[in-house]
């Protein structure tokens, strides 16, 4: 089963993301992190196939998390999606520049998220 990590400080958004992903046509396991720090703690302990992260969080921001994941040989292959209220072009460009695979602006259509997730998960699968 594929394992997805959701990093998002708003509980409502976490619930929305989780429920959107639970309706994927394949079974996935979802782990929620309430903050960037929690994600940093979870990464070495569990193995993930995909990370979905917010940008604005109180401890470290999503861009910093992307940078960390991409600079760490153990995780750098994990596909990353940024989901953020920042409609700002600049943050999107930065996220993509740092190695995020996709960027979704909130509010998003659940189906749009599932499309991106599906694509990224198959990509890693066939890459293996």
């Amino acid at each position: 089963m594929q394992h997805i990590l959701i990093v998002e400080d708003s509980s409502t958004m976490r619930a929305l993301l989780t429920s959107a992903l639970e309706e994927l046509d394949v079974a996935v396991k979802i782990t929620e992190a309430e903050s960037g720090f929690e994600a940093l703690r979870l990464l070495p302990r569990q193995s993930f196939d995909l990370i979905v992260t917010d940008i604005n969080m109180p401890d470290i921001n999503g861009l910093e998390l992307v940078s960390f994941v991409r600079n760490n040989t153990a995780y750098q292959e994990i596909p990353l999606i940024i989901v953020s209220t920042e409609g700002s072009e600049r943050d999107r460009d930065k996220g993509v520049g740092l190695g995020a695979d996709a960027y979704l602006v909130k509010p998003f259509e659940p189906e749009a998220l599932r499309d991106v997730v599906r694509e990224l998960l198959t990509r890693t699968e066939s890459g293996r």
């Binding site: 400080d9 708003s10 509980s11 409502t12 619930a15 929305l16 429920s19 959107a20 309706e23 960037g36 720090f37 940093l40 703690r41 070495p44 940008i55 604005n56 969080m57 109180p58 401890d59 470290i60 921001n61 861009l63 910093e64 998390l65 992307v66 940078s67 960390f68 600079n71 760490n72 040989t73 153990a74 209220t85 920042e86 700002s88 600049r90 943050d91 930065k94 520049g97 740092l98 509010p107 659940p110």
Partner: protein, 696 residues
């Protein structure tokens, strides 16, 4: 489920009501924040960035909410407002431009729209005004100047700049413009425990300036280590900073030696304190530190100055020590007064002591007050979670929140979130029927969960009521019998049966759902609340609903207590739980079913002997005895003691060692004569009827 309730234009008065009440709250908050913003603007040229952030987030919430309920014009206007606030917070539009008055106008429009939302055409009437306002906001935005890049002067690895959000870039730029030096602090931590070390380091840097970003990177051995680079702005020089930062593993490096800074610093020399983030003597809770709060990112919202709770504990402890010392002086006064030769001095000292008392009381009250936080944040959290669950479970429910301004000790509030969340989830998941079931029962298909807080004496009561199916006491009894918690022939009152829900492993519903499942039951709620010195009560009417109320002390730190004596030992009983004291003759004690009772003005009062509870030598049976009537929540018991010694302010200190787990003891305290005295945990005695059952 999401499909059923997705942002459809379902227009019902109920949905409108729900929207209006939440939107009104947001608009109210924006009004308050705007008023603060205007005050700050008129006083200085720099406003608290966190304030702008908060208004930005309010606009954002309103936009999302209006979108969800299909109020397009409101969503549109909120969107524009969000845009221009974003420009302000990123420094693209000046806070001193006309932008703020446009925002005020928009808030006024929201206000009048919400008031009239019930009326037909309310939105159509406002549409022209909205269009006009939108246009002017766009015009104001187009005048904005965007600056990006321009960090060439920084001696910094581009990877750090790449990970800055636009907001962080703006903060960096702002700090450079204000002449501050930019430094990079790097440190490596163990990955399993990085948070504590990192937060200490961040806090230390914040004492000297602003932390702009925190970039994690793999350490040398990536499996066990993690390194952090903290970008910070400070008015200190590199040498001063290195000197003050007492972290052996942290490397500090100057990224920008700001030439503008030295000039600016000299110019400001007469009042250097005003710019520093260190102690502002005049700063108190509720007042905002214009510099300090810039440190927090957009999402960390708080209405008060942030203080480490440990510092407050320390302060509280010191106040406690003072109170104890005051007690010691009191003893000296008594000795002086007792002797005619020293009585005069005694009287004088007594007067001084009385003055000291008043000041001490003031100090105590202020320190306590700082620890108090309104329950609003916790309630907001509950309401957010509930909204999410409602969709998940497909139940129609209205959340009615009252008394959100009621205040409680911060530490208690932190510990209450889980129990409260659990109770509310339980209500939604188990207690409330599905809309179909409700219609069949002749009820409004929309259920209601009421969360209410109020102060009762020295306690705060938080009650969660639902109008659901109520608890099936027959079923509850059967389960308890099956589990062997009670004997089939055991005679229980209705209330005693209801109390069984607090016994571990008993749940009136066998199925466990995702919402309130996970093996946590009401017994955990009760033990959490009891650990805080509180009690949980339950009341339920079949078909009508259930109320669960938690009664909690306002603070755990300092309490008034009644000192009692049993045999050679003294105990302190928190005065907020003492209803009254009585002197009784042994003959007044009645016995039934092995329990001792007292007729208290017609009502039976269960008696317990403190001597028996702690296995102390009992007093002679024929002596007069004192009864301390203890009450918490709805429960009352009488505690028999040998003697009453008077009231005292007591600071409860936790006990370590074997006695720690002794039932009935909340902690220890010192009285003026330096003897340790045990403080009774009233909740555990009052709640004893259930505990006994658990042990059986």
């Amino acid at each position: 489920m999401a499909k059923k309730r997705a942002p459809t234009r379902r227009r019902s008065s109920k949905a409108d009501r729900e929207f209006i009440s939440e939107a009104e709250e947001i608009v109210e908050r924006m009004r308050d924040d705007l008023a603060d913003l205007n005050d700050q603007r008129s006083e200085s040229d720099e406003v608290d960035p966190e304030l702008v952030n908060r208004i930005f987030r309010s606009a954002h919430s309103l936009k999302a909410l209006a979108g969800m309920f299909g109020f397009d014009p409101i969503q549109e206007l909120a969107h524009r407002m969000e845009d221009i606030l974003d420009d302000i917070r990123l420094g693209r539009v000046s806070i001193h431009s006309s932008a703020v008055s446009l925002i005020e106008e928009a808030v006024a429009v929201f206000g009048s729209m919400l008031e009239r939302l019930g009326e037909p055409d309310a939105i159509a009437d406002e549409s022209e005004r909205i269009a006009n306002l939108t246009q002017r906001i766009e015009a104001a935005r187009s005048e904005s100047q965007s600056d990006s890049g321009g960090f060439g002067a920084l001696d910094l690895d581009p990877s750090i700049l790449r990970a800055l959000t636009e907001y962080e870039e703006h903060r960096l730029r702002e700090n450079i413009e204000r002449g501050r030096n930019i430094v990079l602090v790097e440190s490596i931590f163990e990955i399993i425990s990085f948070e504590e070390g990192l937060s200490d380091l961040s806090a230390a840097i914040r004492e000297m300036g602003e932390v702009l970003s925190t970039l994690p990177a793999p350490g040398e051995s990536p499996d066990s280590e993690i390194s952090f680079s903290l970008l910070a702005a400070t008015e200190l020089s590199l040498a001063e900073m290195t000197d003050r930062l007492n972290f052996p593993n942290a490397k500090v490096r100057l990224v920008l030696d700001n030439p503008a800074g030295k000039a600016a610093k000299r110019a400001r020399e007469p009042a250097p304190a005003a710019e520093s983030t260190e102690s502002h003597p005049e700063l108190h809770a509720g007042e905002r530190n214009p510099e300090g709060d810039a440190l927090h990112s957009l999402k960390s919202i708080s209405d008060t100055v942030r203080v480490d709770i440990r510092k407050l504990d320390e302060l509280m402890n010191l106040v406690g020590e003072l109170v104890i010392q005051r007690g010691a002086i009191g003893e000296v006064v008594a000795r002086l007064l007792a002797d005619t030769k020293t009585a005069r001095i005694g009287t004088d000292l007594d007067k001084v002591c009385k003055m000291l008392d008043r000041k001490l009381k003031g100090l105590q009250a202020s320190v306590l007050d700082v620890r108090m936080v309104p329950l609003r944040q916790m309630f907001d959290k509950v309401s957010r979670v509930l909204r999410g669950l409602r969709r998940e479970l497909d139940k129609d429910v209205r959340l009615d929140i009252r008394g959100a301004d009621t205040e409680l000790d911060k530490l208690i509030v932190e510990e209450l979130v889980d129990p409260l969340m659990h109770i509310v989830r339980n209500s939604l998941d188990h207690a409330l029927e599905t809309p179909e079931e409700r219609i069949a029962a002749g009820k409004n298909p929309e259920g209601c969960i009421k969360v209410e807080a109020f102060q009762r004496g020295n306690h705060v009561v938080i009650a969660v009521s639902d109008d659901g199916r109520g608890i099936d006491s027959e079923k509850l009894r059967t389960i308890a019998e099956e589990r062997g918690v009670i004997r089939p022939d055991e005679n229980l009152t209705e209330q005693e049966v209801l109390d069984l829900v607090f016994v571990p492993g008993i749940s009136s519903r066998a199925e466990v759902t995702e919402t309130s499942g996970r093996g946590v039951g009401m017994d955990v709620v009760r033990s959490n609340v009891t650990a805080l010195g509180g009690v949980v009560d339950i009341a339920s009417t079949p078909g009508r609903g259930t109320t669960i109320s938690m009664t909690l002390p306002i603070t755990l730190a300092i309490i008034q207590s009644l000192v009692v004596r049993v045999a050679e030992h003294r105990f302190a009983i928190p005065l907020n739980s003492v209803m009254e004291t009585l002197l009784i003759e042994p003959a007044e004690i009645q016995r039934s079913e092995g329990r001792e009772m007292l007729n208290l003005r017609g009502d039976p009062l269960l008696l317990r002997r403190l001597a028996t509870e702690f296995e102390l030598t009992s007093p002679p049976a024929d002596a007069k005895q004192f009864v301390v009537v203890l009450g918490m929540g709805d429960q009352r018991i009488g505690m028999l003691v040998d003697n009453l010694e008077g009231q005292q302010d007591t600071v409860i200190k936790p006990i370590q060692g074997p006695i720690q787990s002794v039932r009935g003891v909340a902690g220890a305290t010192e009285l003026g004569d330096q003897d340790p005295v045990l403080v009774l945990d009233v909740a555990s005695f009052v709640d004893g009827s259930i505990r006994k059952r658990e042990a059986a």
